[in-house]
Amino acid sequence: MFTPHTDADREEMLRVIGVHKLDDLFADVPAAHRFPLLDLPPAFTEMEALMQMEELAGANETAHDLACFLGAGAYYHYTPAVVDAIIRRGEFLTAYTPYQPEVSQGTLQAIFEYQSLIANLTGMDVSNASHYDGATATAEAAVMAYSHFRGKRTRFILSPSLNPQYRDVVKTYMSGYEHELLGCDSEPLGKPNDLTALLNDNTALLVVQYPDFFGRIFDFTALIEKAHEVGALVAVAVNPIALGVLKTPGAMGADIVVGEGQPLGIPLSYGGPYLGIFATKKEYVRKIAGRLVGESIDGKGRRGYVLTLTAREQHIRREKATSNICTNQGLMALAATVYMSFVGKSGLRQVANLCYQKAHYAAAQIGKVPGYEVKTPAPYFHEFIVKCPKSVEDTNLHLLDHGILGGYDLGKDYPALNGHMLIAVTEMVSKDDIDALCEVLAEVNHD
């Protein structure tokens, strides 16, 4: 065990604070609770510990072991080996916040490249160094809009087809601000234009998702124009893989683009760590949360990278800052950077196209299985809704028995969509997997 203090250090510290022995520091904890007996098994050797951990881990069934049709915000994609090889380098893996440019050029350059790639992918002017995940990035968009209007606009409209978890996190973040949240209770499978009725001159922000939670693709240009007519900002939550083939939100006039960066070379893990994408127009750059890295030149004219526009951040502006979040997902942003650099523009388009084609094949096949109905109208990306004859829970249990991880149970978030499953298809799913899914679905209907 590594302990930084010697006995002499400890004695000196105790003497300085006027305490005789270490136990005296715990005098205020009731004696009965001070040193409870821990009923632990005998210590393992490293070899034994590893064997036990491997045995426990072996009990998991991961996306890797199954044919995965589960998405709903986190997606199973192929991660090229180069991603892990680079992010595991000690210089990146253990680096802390790069305050000091003179010793952090590598980390800073990686973040700068991440920002450049994201700005390009989303069609926006500027990206920050990232947030925790898609949900918190979306919440930061709400906080930014509130701050942009200095609290004078208090209406926030969230599309019902924005990821329900994102909506929950926005709700939590906004609980300390005077505001009204609208839109969540609208018809889940409504059209974007349904939301225009909610827009008024008190609207700070409208948030839509692209492709939406149900996989549908809408061009939001007209909706964004309507929002701008009343002076509101619009945030678009994206799946970055889909942007390999779709028109950018920037081209639609979006003010803010947020999104979950996990599909860009980050494993599903157990729900995290993921990557919150946040990009915006240049005019809002001083209102954004989080870190920003800029490129500059040093005294000798050499290119260098530094944290920039830091005065907007909480460590200088304190309670007046837009947000108190300075943290970024440095390592995950690096993974996304390596992924995007490695697959490149044509590779990303190929991944997106594979997802799209396989999903449309899957939808066509499932549509032929008696009792099932595909409810997502085209155009959709790599996710679609299937109405099931049996409960989604029972259907999924049956699928799991056949090594298939079924879709997301939409009834959990949308009572009106009880018995509806959201199926995601990525490049990791083979034609055989899709055909096997259809066979088992047919069996479930006959049982």
């Binding site: 200095r150 001083r286 005065a311 200088i316 007046k320």
Partner: protein, 127 residues
Amino acid sequence: MNIPSNLKYTSTDEWVKVDGNIATIGVTDHAQEQLSDVVFVEVTVSVGDKVAKKSTIATVESVKAAADVNLPVSGKVVAVNEDLPQTPELVNTDPYGKAWMIKIEMENLAELDNLMDAAGYEKHTKE
């Protein structure tokens, strides 16, 4: 340090120029010296807003710090310097002239009595 004698001052380094019931507000030469190069100014109130004394009316950001500008007297905003956000360096070069921030129609002229004159402010900056 430049401290014009025709202005009134606050302990938080704002200046006030009084013309009838209209007060023009900015930050002092001393303030800009402390901040160093100003890179961003945002006036956070709009014409027509009723603003109470001590509220924040603007944020000034320099290469090393961000500072709030607080209103010395209550009243209604009648003008905002729209040019300042595009030319924040005026806070350094002309703090008492082109870098004025807002004009206020004062509610209560008695609030001016709490402000310092040039001599008082000069003494304050040396403390």
